[in-house]
C-alpha cells in the first residue's frame, strides 16, 4: 500500500505532458476520511496522472490514530479546462470534492494614488479572480501592482499604485484569487530546464545556442505577425564600452530585436562612437584615450539636442551607423529612461521615472523573450514589468544582477555571468553574423 502511495506522489514530478501550454488550468479538491489505508488518496492521485493531469498535494493531515480520519487538499492541474473537467468528474466519486471558492472582495480606492489598506499585491504569475461565480483572467500581469475590477464588464487588470484614481475598485484580501504556477514549457531548451541557478561556471555556449534557436523562431513568427513574438533588449552602455556595439547593431539589422530599453548613456555612447569613434573618450579601435575625448559624449549629446531628435539625426545622415541608426532604420521601439546622473539628456529620454515606467509597460506587451544585458537598473526595472511567462535572459559580469532576477521565482529566467560584448558576439555568431 505504502509503495503504491509513494509511487503516486513521486511520479508527479516526472509528469510534464509534451506539448503542454505554458500555463495550466487548476482546481483545488478536498479529500477526507480514511483515505490512506483504503488507498483512496493513492487512487485519486493515480487517476489524475493517468488522465494526463498533474497535482500538488497540499495540507495533508494523516490521522494520528486508526479511528482518526485524514485530510488532503489537492491542487489538480490540466492543460485544458476540458481535461480538468474530465479529471474532476473521474475523481469526484472517490470523494474528491471541489472546494467552493468565494468571490474576491474589492473596495473603492480612498484617494488618487492610494490603494485600500488591505489591497492584494500581485505576483508576476498568471492570476485569476472570481467575480460573481466566474473566474476572470487578470490582464496585464506584472508583479507588485494592485488589481482593478470592472464588475459590470467582468474584467480585471493590474494597476500601479501611482495610477489609481479615487473610487477605482481594487481587489482586497486573498479570497477568490487564484495564482497559477507556470507549467514547464514544451520546449526542451535551457528555459525548459531552468532551475534558477546563476553560476559563472555554467558553460555559456549551449545556453546561448538555445537562446539563438528561440530568437530564430520568434523572428519567423514576428515576420508572420504572430502575437507574443517580440524580442526585447534592455541594455547598458557597457555594451558599447566592451565592444558589443557591432554585434548588437547586426542583431537589430537582421530583425532579431524589436524593442530596446536603455538610458541616456547607451544612446549617447553609441552615437559618440558613430561621430568620433570613441566611447567615453576612449578610442574604440585604438583602446586608449584620445585628446579631449572626455568631451565627445557631451558634444554628441549637444549635437543631437540641436538637431532635435535621434530619429532626425539618423534620417538627416548625421548618424550613419550603430545601434541607434539600426533602431531608426528598422523601426525598433525605443524607450530611454533617464537617471539623476545623466548629461543632457538626449532628446527622447524620459526623465520622469513613473512616465518612463508607463512607457516601458506599454512596450512589454507582446514580448516573447527579454534579453537584459549589462544594466542593473534597466534589467531589474524590466524584470519587474514582465509576466513570469516571458523567458528572460539576464547577462552581467556582476553575478548579483542575474541572481536578483532569478530570485523572482520564475524558472524561465536564465542568468549568465559574462560580459556584454562576449554575449552579444556569440549570440550574433550563432545567428549567422560574420564579421
Amino acid at each position: 500500500m505504502q509503495v503504491l502511495l509513494r509511487n503516486a506522489c513521486l511520479s508527479r514530478a516526472d509528469v510534464s505532458p509534451e506539448g503542454s501550454v505554458m500555463t495550466a488550468v487548476q482546481e483545488t479538491v478536498f479529500l477526507q476520511g480514511h483515505i490512506i489505508d483504503s488507498l483512496i488518496l493513492a487512487k485519486v492521485l493515480d487517476t489524475i496522472l493517468m488522465m494526463g493531469g498533474t497535482f500538488d498535494l497540499q495540507d495533508v493531515n494523516i490521522g494520528t490514530t486508526r479511528d482518526a480520519p485524514s485530510q488532503a487538499r489537492i491542487v489538480v492541474r490540466a492543460h485544458s479546462s476540458r481535461l480538468l473537467a474530465e479529471i474532476l468528474q473521474a475523481i469526484q466519486p472517490h470523494g474528491a470534492a471541489v472546494e467552493r471558492d468565494s468571490d474576491c472582495r474589492f473596495e473603492p480606492a480612498p484617494a488618487e494614488g492610494i490603494f485600500p489598506d488591505d489591497f492584494y499585491a500581485t505576483t508576476h504569475l498568471p492570476t485569476q479572480i472570481r467575480l460573481d461565480g466566474d473566474w476572470v483572467e487578470v490582464e496585464g500581469m506584472e508583479m507588485d501592482l494592485g488589481i482593478c475590477v470592472d464588475p459590470a464588464k467582468a474584467r480585471a487588470r493590474t494597476l500601479p499604485m501611482g495610477s489609481v484614481k479615487a473610487g477605482d475598485l481594487i481587489v482586497t484580501g486573498r479570497e477568490g484569487i487564484r495564482v497559477t504556477p507556470l507549467a514547464r514549457p514544451a520546449e526542451r531548451d535551457v528555459f525548459g530546464f531552468m532551475e534558477s541557478v546563476v553560476s559563472s561556471e555554467r558553460p555559456h555556449q549551449p545556453v546561448i545556442a538555445d537562446i539563438a534557436q528561440r530568437m530564430l523562431k520568434l523572428r519567423a513568427g514576428y515576420r508572420q505577425g504572430q502575437a507574443g513574438t517580440k524580442v526585447l533588449l534592455a541594455g547598458g552602455p557597457a555594451i558599447v564600452h566592451a565592444g558589443g556595439r557591432q554585434a548588437l547593431t547586426w542583431l537589430i539589422e537582421a530583425g532579431f530585436i524589436h524593442v530596446l530599453f536603455c538610458g541616456n548613456a547607451l544612446a549617447a555612447h553609441d552615437m559618440e562612437a558613430a561621430l568620433y569613434g570613441t566611447s567615453l573618450g576612449y578610442g574604440l579601435t585604438a583602446g586608449r584615450s584620445v585628446p579631449h575625448g572626455h568631451e565627445h559624449h557631451l558634444r554628441t549629446i549637444n549635437r543631437i539636442r540641436a538637431i532635435g531628435s535621434i530619429h532626425e539625426a539618423v534620417r538627416s545622415g548625421v548618424i550613419t551607423e550603430g545601434i541607434m541608426a539600426a533602431c531608426v532604420h528598422h523601426d525598433v521601439k525605443m524607450v530611454m529612461a533617464g537617471t539623476i546622473r545623466d548629461d543632457g539628456p538626449l532628446p527622447g529620454v524620459v526623465t520622469d521615472s513613473m512616465q518612463a515606467q508607463e512607457a516601458m509597460r506599454a512596450e512589454v506587451q507582446g514580448v516573447g523573450l527579454a534579453l537584459l544585458v549589462a544594466s542593473t537598473l534597466h534589467a531589474i526595472a524590466t524584470g519587474n514589468l514582465l509576466p513570469a511567462s516571458v523567458p528572460t535572459v539576464c547577462v552581467d559580469v556582476n553575478p548579483s544582477v542575474p541572481t536578483k532576477l532569478a530570485d523572482r521565482g520564475s524558472f524561465q529566467a536564465v542568468g549568465l555571468v559574462m560580459d556584454a560584448a562576449s554575449f552579444l558576439k556569440e549570440l550574433a555568431r550563432e545567428l549567422g553574423w560574420r564579421l
Binding site: G33, S38, I40
Partner: protein, 266 residues
C-alpha cells in the same frame, strides 16, 4: 442474545428495476416468497437462536423487506439511510419511525449524501468497511466514522451486479472474510489485504458469488446462507462454522438474499 430486524414480504414484488438483477417480467411468486421468508425467519429464530423484530410492511413499498438497507445501528444509535433511487426513498420514514418507536436515537445525514445502511457498511468490531460508487456516496463515511467512532475503510464496488457491499463482502464472527475478489479493484483488494491476513480471506467461487453466497447472515458460529452455494458452505464449514441453507430464489430476483433481509440491531 442477538436481535435482527425483519419485515414480512406481504407487498414484496418487482415494481421497478434499479439493479441488474431486477426484471419486471421476472415476476415474484408471492406464495413462494412468503414461504421462503418464513423459513428464513424460522431458521434464524429456532436454529440460530436470535431474536427477531418484525416491522409492519407497507403497501407500495416492495423493498421494505430488505431491512439491511434501513440504516446502520450501533448501540442505541441509528443512522437512517438516504437511498440513491427515489423508488426506495419513501422507505426512509418508515424505518426512522420504527427506530424512534423502539427508543433509538435516530440520526440522518445531510440530504445529498446517499448512504444505504448496513447494505454498504459492515465489518469487524474495530474496522468497518464501506462500499461506495454504486449506491452509497463515499463522502458519507467520514461522517459515519465520526458518529460511530469507528474506522471506515471505503471500498469501491466496480461490478454493478455487486451493487451493495453485502452482496460481495461478508465478515465472519471469527475474523474471517468471505468475499468476491472480482467485485473490487486493485486498491480495494490491497486495502482488504492490509487489514485481513491471507489465511483469513475466503474467496467465494464466481458461480456461487452470483448466487449471493456472500449475502449470508453470520451469528456466532452459525451461518445462514442462500441455497445453491455448496462450495462456499464447505469452505466455511472447514473453519468450524455451522451452515444453514435456505432457498431464497424469489428474493434473488430482486437482487437480495439472507443478509439483505435482516438488519443486526445489536
Amino acid at each position: 442474545m442477538s436481535r435482527l430486524l425483519v419485515c414480512p414480504p406481504e407487498y414484496f414484488q418487482i415494481d421497478y428495476e434499479i439493479n441488474p438483477w431486477m426484471r419486471r417480467e421476472n415476476a415474484v411468486v408471492p406464495s413462494r416468497a412468503v414461504s421462503q421468508w418464513q423459513t428464513l425467519v424460522q431458521v434464524l429464530e429456532q436454529d440460530v437462536g436470535v431474536g427477531v423484530e418484525r416491522m409492519q410492511p407497507v403497501p407500495g413499498l416492495p423493498d421494505l423487506v430488505f431491512t439491511a438497507n434501513a440504516g446502520v445501528v450501533a448501540g442505541h444509535r441509528v443512522v437512517i439511510s438516504r437511498f440513491r433511487y427515489p423508488e426506495r426513498r419513501r422507505e426512509e420514514v418508515y424505518f426512522a419511525q420504527w427506530f424512534r418507536e423502539h427508543g433509538y436515537e435516530v440520526l440522518t445525514l445531510e440530504e445529498s449524501l446517499y448512504f444505504e445502511g448496513a447494505g454498504d457498511l459492515l465489518g469487524f468490531p474495530d474496522t468497518w468497511f464501506g462500499g461506495y460508487r454504486q449506491r452509497s456516496d463515499i463522502r458519507s463515511f467520514p461522517k459515519l466514522s465520526e458518529i460511530f467512532q469507528r474506522e471506515i475503510i471505503p471500498l469501491e464496488l466496480i461490478d454493478g451486479r455487486f451493487y451493495h457491499l453485502d452482496t460481495c463482502f461478508c465478515p465472519l464472527s471469527g475474523g474471517e472474510l468471505l468475499y468476491v475478489p472480482s467485485a473490487f479493484d486493485a486498491y480495494g483488494l490491497a486495502a482488504i489485504a492490509q487489514r485481513i491476513p491471507e489465511e483469513q480471506r475466503l474467496a467465494v467461487p464466481e458461480d456461487e458469488a452470483i448466487r449471493f453466497a456472500c449475502n449470508a447472515v453470520c451469528v456466532g458460529k452459525h451461518i445462514v446462507i442462500p441455497a445453491g452455494c455448496p462450495r462456499t458452505m464447505r469452505l466455511v464449514e472447514s473453519r468450524g462454522y455451522r451452515t444453514h441453507e435456505v432457498e431464497l430464489g424469489e428474493f434473488m430476483k430482486s437482487g437480495g438474499a439472507a443478509k439483505c433481509l435482516t438488519l443486526a440491531l445489536d
